[in-house]
Amino acid sequence: MNDGDALLVTRVLGGDENAYGVLMARYRDRFARYAFRLLGDQGDAEDVLQETFIRGYRFLSQCESPEKFGAWLFRILVNRCHSAYSGRGRKEENLGSSTVADTRPARGYGNDEAWREEIERALEYLPLEQREAFLLKYVEDLSYEEMEELTGMGISALKMRVKRACERLRELLGEVYDARS
């Protein structure tokens, strides 16, 4: 809960659109991170972010619990990410089953940035639903109950998605992870 959000929402609904800029600044980095990690493309992530904030403004009067504005807007973001993914024709499904090691850079993974890029690339090998579940659990740090409320999926299905995502990531990144540990 964030009382500050509730006050800002009231101000926006009263006609102060600058207050919306403050709300946006609070959530943009977290939302950008989620959209980029899920969609794997900066342009797509920015489009989704823009749509999310504009829809949030447009439908703000429908936010029934202004103190939970962040959670409400995050739900819009998750839905918009689904739309963006559907709209681009599920190109990720054609990635096949090759491993990340196939494209290992010559500079190796000692460098943190190169390691992160490899993780991002490995994420793209996961089906959307597994990627989403993994990000919600281990990056956004949500509980399974919160994930259930957000996605509408049952807890056991979400646990299965997270488990499969972990297994696949371990398969793709385990060798390098073990060497770095």
Binding site: E17, R28, R80, G87, G152, Y177
Partner: protein, 169 residues
């Protein structure tokens, strides 16, 4: 084994930490969003002015022709009851998402009727809306009877519906 000692859990936590690093955004993104927000704010502030302006003009006209002001009617868009339906005999759940319900997949469930047809009725103001059906929680199926939305913020699986007031038909 405690979760913290589970190697898979430790691996997942470690990957999650790496993915929490910030991502870079275009420097003008905030400006673009706020410009659109301000444009919409201006538009919504102007709408009541048009409404009151229209009412005042109607009242003056009524006086000019010797009528009582009670006969000057304010026109407010009426809500129309719009029926949505999808043939999906194998589906176990169908919901409706669109501009009118903030694309919330839980907001508007359809009811299964005979022969596998799913139906619902939604009150909508006249206007143009994008929408689609969500089948079994994940599959997007657009209404094949209506035009597909193109060139806006959705891809292929959405349809467009334009609601015209019954009084104008």
């Amino acid at each position: 084994m405690h979760a913290a000692d589970d190697p898979t859990e430790k691996f997942a936590q470690s990957i999650g930490r790496e993915l929490r690093s910030p991502v870079e955004l275009s420097p003008d993104l905030d400006d673009r969003i706020m410009k659109e927000v301000r444009r919409r704010a201006r538009r919504s502030r102007m709408r009541p002015l048009f409404l009151w302006g229209g009412l005042a003009a109607a009242a003056l006209m009524a006086i000019a022709v010797g009528m009582t002001t009670r006969s000057a009617r304010l026109t407010v868009p009426p809500m129309e009851r719009v029926a949505f339906g999808l043939e999906a005999p194998a589906a176990t759940r169908v919901t409706l998402v669109g501009d009118f319900n903030n694309w919330d997949p839980d907001a508007t469930p359809l009811v299964r009727s005979e022969h596998g047809r799913w139906e619902t009725v939604v009150p909508l103001e006249p206007g143009r809306y994008q929408f689609t059906f969500v089948v079994d929680g994940s599959r997007w199926v657009r209404d094949p009877r209506l035009p597909a939305a193109v060139g806006e913020d959705f891809g292929e699986p959405t349809s467009v519906i334009t609601i015209i007031p019954v009084s104008r038909l």
